[in-house]
């Protein structure tokens, strides 16, 4: 299975009802300690940059990348551009519009995915809907 087969697939519930579009796949990267090459970023006080800086600038050595779940957007298959999940408010009004388009987006744990077919993902009975916010 490759990630491209999952992205933009239609997501259906256990009874075949349409739930939305699979917009992203969430992964948990194992971070390994003991890396001394972490550079010190002096501009970390610049909180406007927080969306990228917190998640992306880290220098932790990564290990395995486990699949956590799938993000399902009920209204739109357009990319989230990251706005849905980081609490960014600028540049107005782009995040506001993207978030409005993707309101109701939820995370379904990978254990609750029952079947993956061509362009379609079916969820298991009793699937969980979790908050899509990126921790």
């Amino acid at each position: 299975m490759i990630l491209g087969d999952l992205l933009d697939a239609r997501v259906r519930g256990p009874g075949g009802e349409h739930l939305g579009t699979l917009v992203d796949v969430r992964l948990a990267l194992e971070t390994l300690p003991g890396d001394d090459s972490s550079p010190d970023y002096p501009d970390r006080e610049d909180r406007e940059d927080r969306a990228l800086s917190e998640q992306v600038r880290r220098r932790d050595r990564v290990g395995r990348a486990r699949v956590v779940g799938i993000l399902v957007s009920p209204r739109s298959g357009a990319p989230l551009l990251g706005y849905e999940r980081t609490g960014v408010t600028a540049p107005w009004p782009v995040p506001q519009l993207v978030r409005r388009r993707h309101r109701g987006t939820f995370l379904v744990p990978w254990e609750d995915v029952a079947a993956v077919g061509p362009g379609e993902v079916r969820l298991a009975t009793g699937y969980r809907q979790e908050d899509a916010a990126l921790p």
């Binding site: 992964l27 948990a28 990267l29 486990r66 989230l80 995915v113 079947a115 298991a124």
Partner: protein, 138 residues
């Protein structure tokens, strides 16, 4: 998730499309290798096997490899390249994930650049002076 926490390692949550796809891949020397065109998902328990098992829905899965290939046409017209056209970079060779993905191996050890290597050997190497490294003396 608690298993990693108890062993002293942490967990960082990322979204594949947001944080990984289309990112540049650098080798251990910082040389650009390729970009992340796609990711291969494999069953989480088959990591060290020679032939990792394909990921199954609902069963623990993880990223097995970074895939790179001729995706320009398929991105415009839909579909995906056949499996034989993908070049794989094993995920165990990934060291850091930041604005770019940094590998722990040299680009020469990967098969990603085989057309470049072939051209170097069979075309450039036959041109007079083609085997001279211009940066060798500097």
């Amino acid at each position: 998730m608690s298993r990693e926490s108890s062993s002293g390692a942490g967990v960082r949550v990322v979204d594949a499309r947001l944080h990984l796809l289309s990112r540049q891949v650098l080798d251990v020397d910082g040389e650009p290798v390729t970009t992340v065109d796609d990711l291969e998902l494999v069953a989480a328990d088959a990591r060290d096997d020679d032939a990792p098992r394909d990921a199954a829905p609902g069963e623990p899965a993880e990223v097995g490899a970074i895939l790179t290939g001729p995706v320009l046409v398929t991105r415009l017209l839909g579909g995906r390249p056949p499996a034989s056209r993908w070049e794989r970079v094993p995920w165990r060779d990934v060291g850091h994930v930041g604005t770019a993905l940094e590998l722990t191996v040299r680009a020469d050890s990967l098969d990603v650049h085989w057309p470049e290597g072939w051209l170097r050997e069979h075309v450039v190497g036959r041109i007079p002076g083609g085997r001279h490294d211009p940066e060798e003396d500097s």
